[in-house]
């Protein structure tokens, strides 16, 4: 049945998930630039996701095949994000410089 290994301390994992959630909520109120908040939030989210995947979903104690299958959407997802970069620059978004509306051309 289940491989003979010690059951992980699920309550400790729960504790970490709770702490990381509290940190996430605290981070959005930090007086730092949006990019830093984004990096911190994404790090917390990835940590929480890894904890759930490795211990609750048991990946840490599974064969390599399942781990490789589970990691695939991370790679494909990264590819997705890169594919969309050209589209996200289609509209000038708020930056340090003010964006002046383009002059209307006569057709």
């Amino acid at each position: 049945m289940a491989e003979a290994h010690k059951s992980p301390n699920y309550m400790a994992i729960f504790g970490w998930l709770f702490v990381l959630t509290v940190i996430e909520i605290g981070v959005i109120y930090l007086p730092v630039v949006k990019l830093v908040i984004a990096i911190l939030l994404i790090s917390c989210a990835v940590s929480k996701a890894s904890l759930v995947a490795m211990y609750f979903m048991h990946l840490r104690f599974e064969r390599l095949t399942l781990g490789l299958i589970a990691v695939t959407p991370l790679l494909l997802g990264a590819l997705l994000v890169f594919l969309l970069v050209p589209d996200s620059s289609a509209v000038p978004h708020r930056t340090a410089e003010t964006v002046k509306p383009a002059a209307v051309e006569k057709h």
């Binding site: 699920y10 994992i13 909520i25 609750f56 299958i69 996200s88 000038p92």
Partner: protein, 205 residues
């Protein structure tokens, strides 16, 4: 169990170091990565539209962070009770297993209830799937589509877990029962995992 299932056990000795012992577990994992790609598509599309938008409303000005934090906590607790339920099945303790599985699905049902309450509150404040009074209309569209897609997954999970409760109550072969409950647990943890991502990108960022 069907005749075929009786002849071919769910747990077979591994043919090689690469094949899993449980085909059902492999099948569920492959389904989950496909589902993950579905959510990844929605979230990256949302990201591209939000980044390319000039007037996207600030989520923490309009969405209830406190309520959503509670919902996140609820789902994390339900993941813990799921894992405890699986442990109870492993130890062949029927009452504890049923208790924890019921707690898990109640957590999921409460999550969906709170989500529905949040939706009605936001709709009454003017957030619609086709527009809102605060900025880009896609804010509402992406919000409802993504949280709705996730909420549907949680609802499906609650139904799935109710079936698992019935399976455990009528247990005959504990090894088979452990396998199917473990597989349902994988789905439930996946739903929690996706919510962690949705909460971060839609509500906090």
């Amino acid at each position: 169990m069907s005749q075929i299932a009786a002849v071919h056990p769910a747990i077979e000795p591994a043919e090689s170091p690469l094949t899993p012992e449980s085909w059902g577990k492999l099948g569920m994992w492959i389904f989950l990565v496909g589902d993950a790609m579905g959510f990844a598509t929605l979230l990256s599309g949302y990201g591209a539209m939000r980044y390319g938008s000039a007037d996207w409303p600030s989520p923490y000005d309009h969405l209830g962070i406190a309520l959503t934090a509670l919902m996140t906590f609820l789902l994390i607790c339900s993941s813990v009770t799921m894992v405890k339920g699986l442990e109870a099945v492993r130890l062949e303790s029927k009452e504890r297993a049923v208790l924890f599985l019921v707690l898990t699905l109640l957590g999921g049902a409460a999550f969906v209830g709170l989500q529905a309450y949040e939706w009605t509150k936001l709709v009454s404040e003017g957030l619609k799937i086709y527009g809102n009074p605060w900025g880009a209309s896609l804010f509402g569209t992406t919000f409802f589509i993504i949280t709705g897609f996730h909420g549907l997954h949680v609802t499906g999970g609650v139904v799935y877990l109710s079936c698992m409760v019935a399976v455990v109550v009528r247990v005959r072969d504990w090894q088979w029962t452990y396998n199917v409950v473990e597989i349902s647990g994988l789905y439930w943890h996946f739903v929690d995992l996706v919510w962690i991502m949705v909460f971060t990108f839609i509500y906090l960022l």
